[in-house]
Symmetry: C2
Subunit: 478 residues, 2 copies
């Protein structure tokens, strides 16, 4: 069924009162000013209409116990359906679907490294990451899923309502239907509150985008034992715990309607957009897919593909046995990063207004040269052999504990990455650590400005979106 | 010099009063609410402080006469520095710069044509299209250039202040400096009012973007005989004449600050963005560059490369002799379309509010699947052999003259396209021509909504931007 058709059919039937009494019934306000207030109400609701926050870890443990779920590392030779393609050495599935592991050569005009080669995941199909919303007692609640992913260090975390690749929902692996999917594909079932294509890890994926959606259900939503309704305030509380809210949930939360005040900022939105345009223009990034067996500096063994110096990441493979997944068992490759990441925004109050120091980052897999990342995004152990330290890393690592406004360990997408953990932080800085005259490639922006950008695709990278989710949910109030 | 550095250096020194008395001097309003009003003032100024509108055609004739400028068609063999590359047959310049003519294979999942092959221009470097603004007698004026381009049917048209490829301004063809360029590259010289990367013709260019900029000069601007200051109202008047305002000027004008009312619309901005996301998602477009000599259905002669049925366009070459260009003579390839294009928005007042019927178009050269185009964008003669007519074409061609709200002939970029003319129209429609329940791929949007989208890259294609420039300039008031 055509989504466009179902969308326009639902069009004029759902007017918004705030268009004012003068507007005919088929018109609505172009901007919904009420929505951010409703989400703010959910963010201040420390408890919801269902599970209490303190009960969530126990509930997650229960779900973990209810499902047999075992992940074992296996040699590549034991992969079922996956093999190294003759000629290229690319790691591919016999169906031609899911994803492939290929090589990438990146050439760029700026930065300390002007050319590098690496393995990369090529997954062109666009998945849906969707959170379903419904009001209980006048407060919007989010339907979160207890979802197993083989790469998560604790296997099970809270995910969006729907987390589906196109292969998932078109049944490429012949499994069960994706629960609640129709709320996101059939516009008559819900009202869209956010819907935007966002990039994923540009260092590990070649031009991967997922569709981030928030949809409000218009009717009763049938319950299911692996799902629970939580307020934004409850999710915020859980974001303070390590490895509870998964990456897919965090990126969707970053797209949640945020305060609608226009506010003041060190740089106007026009200046911010202009700076971003100049960053996209000054970086000339050529990213070229090459055969995996032609990536210099990487070696393929029986159980892993590794960098010759043991840095960055390895390509490994696992077998998975599970009870509540779309299929009951499978094998697959995963990327396993070496070392713990550090991902942080330095923050300052400028004229009393909280600002974040954003970084225009080049990642080889981005669709378009640069996206905005946090101030610091690196794996320190990858830089130990270099004389130059990543900018601002020491300001984060040596910060007095009183300056750390947020700190938690989160893992990246457990469907593709194995134990890919990073310490996420907000750290208060001063003029010595982070001057108002930011160096080239960095700019002070407000959370509201980032929130306005995240409505559009490919402005904020996935790490910046994880940190933004701490602000949109109210987990961090700067 | 790093643009980012000069930008942040200029940062806190230029506060905006509308941030209010409570804001410290280094903060400014995130959104500049005053700017659209200043541009609206310029749009209502039918005459400016300098040349009168009726004098502009005479002034253009004078500039045309003052410069010797002759364009002659030549066989490919007489191209200087250009040749067909061995092996690929690509048409390339010996410097490796400027652009190349290659082949493209496009495979898509929707529409009447699921795969096609064609020649395409590959020009990866990002140019600057910039209009300089300055107030005279309290009214913003635009500095327009009388610029020769070999492909324009009348050779000389009004262009932006600056229209420079990176080859231009880094002196790849060793010519004169680009006049006024520093206003756009050195942030201390002006205040940026708009700055965004926009696509160009996706049917003729492979992923071409130009940087569209509007900059307000902070100091005196030295005059030059090929440039004149005009109000937006004067430019609007000239947009009613055939082939006066060139494409580069039109796309920059489309990015001009527009009325800041949020307004009402048939679909909220969130719904519009969601529809756009669903259009990007449902189209799977694979565009693959291939050697020019492997493009089936196209034949290379001594003077042109043509489609076997004589449709679409030809690749030709010309020699140029000019006095006021960066260099005094050169040869180059051009794309020469067959037939006159028709490019039109159907319009309707919905609940009293003007709406346009936008089309989510696939063009093979787009960076990302689809962009929003006008309701109709085609060359009718290319469709004469087909049974299916392009949707809404007949509603445009058969419209009663009383319904034509705007009509003018404009040409596309004269530096790459030869006599590429299209009739641009706004045509009032009714429920019979264009129902409120738009078919899949089409959506009713307001001019304000398009104006909000055009601040971000790759939402509106260049044809939609030409029509939007008629609205931002006030040439058309729906």
């Amino acid at each position: 069924m055509s989504r466009a058709a179902s969308f326009t059919a639902a069009g004029p039937a759902d007017p918004v009162g705030s268009a004012g009494p003068a507007a005919p019934f088929w018109l609505r306000a172009a901007l919904d000013r009420d929505l951010p207030h409703r989400f703010a109400r959910s963010a201040t609701a420390a408890e919801g209409a269902h599970l209490r926050t303190e009960e969530v870890p126990g509930w997650l443990d229960g779900r973990r116990a209810a499902h047999r779920f075992q992940v074992d590392r296996i040699p590549f030779a034991q992969l079922d359906g996956w093999s190294f393609q003759e000629g290229t050495g690319n790691l591919v599935h016999r169906s031609g679907r899911f994803f492939t592991v290929e090589g990438l050569r990146v050439t760029t005009t700026h930065g300390p490294h002007r050319q590098w080669h690496q393995p990369i995941i090529n997954q062109t199909e666009i998945g849906i990451l969707g959170i379903l919303v419904k009001e209980f007692d006048g407060v919007p609640h989010l339907l979160m899923q207890a979802k197993m992913e083989p790469g998560n260090p604790n296997l099970l975390q809270l995910s969006p309502t729907v987390q589906a690749t196109r292969s998932n929902y078109t049944k490429a692996h012949r499994g069960a239907d994706v629960r609640y999917l129709d709320y996101f594909t059939d516009r008559s079932r819900g009202r869209v509150l956010a819907d935007v294509l966002q990039s994923e890890h540009g260092s590990w994926f070649y031009r991967k985008s997922n569709r981030n959606m928030i949809v409000e259900a218009l009717d009763e939503v049938p319950p299911h034992e692996d799902f629970c309704w939580l307020t934004l305030g409850q999710v915020a509380e859980l974001l303070h715990r390590d490895n509870v809210i998964n990456m897919d949930a965090r990126t969707v939360l970053a797209c949640a309607p945020f305060a609608d005040a226009e506010g003041v900022a060190m740089h106007s939105d026009t200046e911010l957009l202009s700076w971003f345009t100049s960053e996209r223009t000054r970086h000339d990034v050529q990213a070229e897919r090459i055969p995996l067996n032609q990536v210099p500096g990487w070696e393929r063994g029986e159980r892993s593909i590794d960098h010759e110096d043991g840095r960055y990441f390895s390509v490994v493979s696992v077998s998975v046995h599970a009870g509540n997944r779309e299929v009951t068992g499978w094998t697959q490759p995963l990327f396993e990063p070496r070392g713990l990441g550090v991902t942080a925004f330095l923050t300052r109050r400028i004229g009393g207004v909280p600002h974040l120091l954003a970084h225009a980052r080049v990642e080889g897999g981005f669709a378009d040269t640069v996206e905005l990342g946090p101030t610091v995004q690196c794996t320190p152990s990858n830089h130990e052999h270099l004389t130059a330290r990543p900018p601002f890393l020491d300001a984060v690592l040596s910060a007095d504990p009183s300056r750390i406004r947020y700190e938690a360990l989160h893992s990246e997408e457990g469907g593709r990455f194995l134990n890919a953990e990073s310490r996420y932080l907000f750290v208060e800085a001063d003029e010595t650590d982070a001057p108002l005259q930011a160096p080239p490639g960095y700019l002070w922006v407000t959370p509201l400005q980032l929130s306005r950008l995240v409505r559009h695709n490919h402005y904020l990278n996935v790490q910046a979106r994880t940190l933004l989710s701490c602000l949109t949910s109210g987990a961090v109030r700067l």
